[in-house]
């Protein structure tokens, strides 16, 4: 079983549109029942908007805890405020008040409190879902705004996808990654067989692609690049090409600027279904074949 994660560094580069199109391609012909889909952008999970999922299972995600003070036992000594490094505890008229957004859940205050007046309380931080789509099962999640532990929820989504793939004999897990290079992204690439970075040929797209490639390589994940809207800024595309050449990163393909992608998204469909003959669809098909090819070469 192979895990492919699509990343970008910069948000809005086209990760979700690409993964949705890959999902369709993976389900065609002999590929039926071959792929489990996982959306690890738990802050802003958009894959569900284009894959027409039907929910099969939904569970609460408890992650992250916060300190809760039992005022009846509190003597107002203020030690909790002193030891908190996150400025989350403040004495208000002699008694500690915890700011739930600032609380890191470290429990330092709980262990220092001489009256044992502080308990740690787990929070409901979101939900995760298993859904059926026409292209295979989808594991996705919603993290509530302002919650921590998105990395933990990403790990849970991936674990569910892996369990499903292993128990039912799927060949591949296709992961829609979050933007950036921090905690949730690191969780999403861990254990992947290939990280495909989708880049935009803008100066910012180039800068963010480099950081995404460096991050994936830092964790020894085989990495390849494809370019979206490659014809929008030819000099930018040339810079990406040269970067890939110099750093020995394979450039698997280029998607032209094609309004069909936006139109498909507006209709809630993968672009491959919406207009299979569109230039973007054709380009994505080529990239998908290159991904499959790259995976088999990595195995060899």
């Amino acid at each position: 079983m192979k895990q492919v994660v699509v990343l970008s560094g910069k948000g809005g580069a086209g990760k979700t549109s690409l993964v949705a199109a890959f999902a369709v391609l993976s389900s065609m012909g002999s590929g039926k029942n071959s792929t489990v889909l996982a959306d690890t952008d738990v802050d802003a999970s958009n894959l569900e908007l284009v894959l027409s999922p039907v929910e099969v299972e939904s569970r609460e995600f408890r992650g992250g805890q916060i300190a809760v003070v039992n005022q009846a036992n509190c003597q107002g000594c203020g030690l909790c405020e002193t030891v908190c490094r996150f400025d989350a505890v403040r004495l208000v008229s002699g008694f500690p008040v915890v700011d739930p957004l600032a609380c890191e859940g470290c429990a330092a205050c709980r262990y220092q409190c001489p009256e044992e007046a502080i308990a740690m309380q787990e929070q409901v931080a979101g939900r995760w879902f298993l859904s059926d789509t026409p292209y295979g099962p989808l594991v996705h999640a919603h993290l509530e705004p302002a919650r921590e532990n998105s990395g933990k929820l990403v790990s849970l989504v991936k674990q569910r996808a892996r369990d499903l793939a292993e128990s039912e004999g799927y060949e591949m897990i296709l992961i829609d990654g979050p933007p950036g290079i921090g905690c949730p992204v690191i969780s999403s690439v861990s254990g992947a067989d290939l990280a495909l970075v989708i880049a935009e040929p803008s100066l910012s797209g180039l800068q963010d692609m480099r950081r995404a490639v460096e991050m994936a390589r830092h964790f020894q994940i085989p990495t390849a690049v494809c370019v979206n809207k490659y014809d929008l800024y030819p000099e930018g595309w040339e810079k990406i090409r040269r970067y890939c050449q110099q750093h020995d990163v394979e450039l698997l393909g280029n998607i032209p600027f094609d309004e069909t992608i936006t139109a498909a998204m507006t209709r809630g469909q993968p672009v491959i279904n919406y207009q299979p003959q569109a230039p973007a669809s054709k380009a994505i098909e080529k990239i998908w074949l290159a991904v499959r090819d790259k995976l088999s070469r990595l195995e060899a």
Binding site: K10, P145, A146
Partner: protein
Amino acid sequence: MIITVASGKGGTGKTTVAVSLAAAIQADLFLDCDVEAPDADIYLKPEIQERKDVCLLIPEVDKARCAGCGICGEVCQFHAIALMGEIPLVFPALCHGCGSCALNCPEGAINEVPRILGLVESGPTPEGIQFARGLLNVGEPLAVPVIDQLISWKSAGDGQVEIRDAPPGTSCPVVASLQGADYALLVTEPTRFGLHDLKLAGQLVRELSLPAGVIINRDSPRGVTGVERYCRDQGLPVLLRIPLERSIAEGTARGRNLIEIHPQYQQLLGGVYDKILGQQRNSFPAAGPGNAGRREKT
């Protein structure tokens, strides 16, 4: 006056709006809080003059003093220190720097040593805006300490205007970028993705009781109409529409701000700022300056 430009969805044009607004109103300070993928420097071209490492204090075990009791591992909520045989082993990447292990060690065998997570840097732009940004080191998971450090390192004085460019999403790094802000400027696009993620961002600013307004980027007659309806229902003013135009996409790809692409944005963005000030004056007192976000500056 601190304005944080945020979005939920990535790639909606936060940075384009933030740098263009800063240029239009000659902001005093610009903070790039997207420490995972910062790009504002491309547009603002600052001359960096100051740099500082961002460190987290992590435990170091004095083996001579350690009695192997394992309390450090029991109190650590992040599995960053654990007994391996008789000696605790530290996993630096998991440590949140809370110091609880050191406080709880009965032998006083844990010292805290700084570990570098990234850096903050600062300098003026050619237009005289003070610029600062944070940069998370590649491979490091924790963005929030870098954002916190950036915000406490440079801040606008009384009567000054500070523009912050936030990372995408709605979780802790975005909350950190909104701390102490007076206003959240949400940038969206009229697509299903844009609308879905705008709703999450809207929920976030409501939880923080922060006055907010919306800029619709890549506006097109073919876009989804739900964005306007959502804004109306939520009482979120639409402050500006930026049309979907190839010339803008090409210009921003080369690192040009909106005013450099179309000079009329000088006036349009000035108008946005006036509307923000008007909204500020009319907003309810609980959402006044300094009440939003995780904590107040001390």
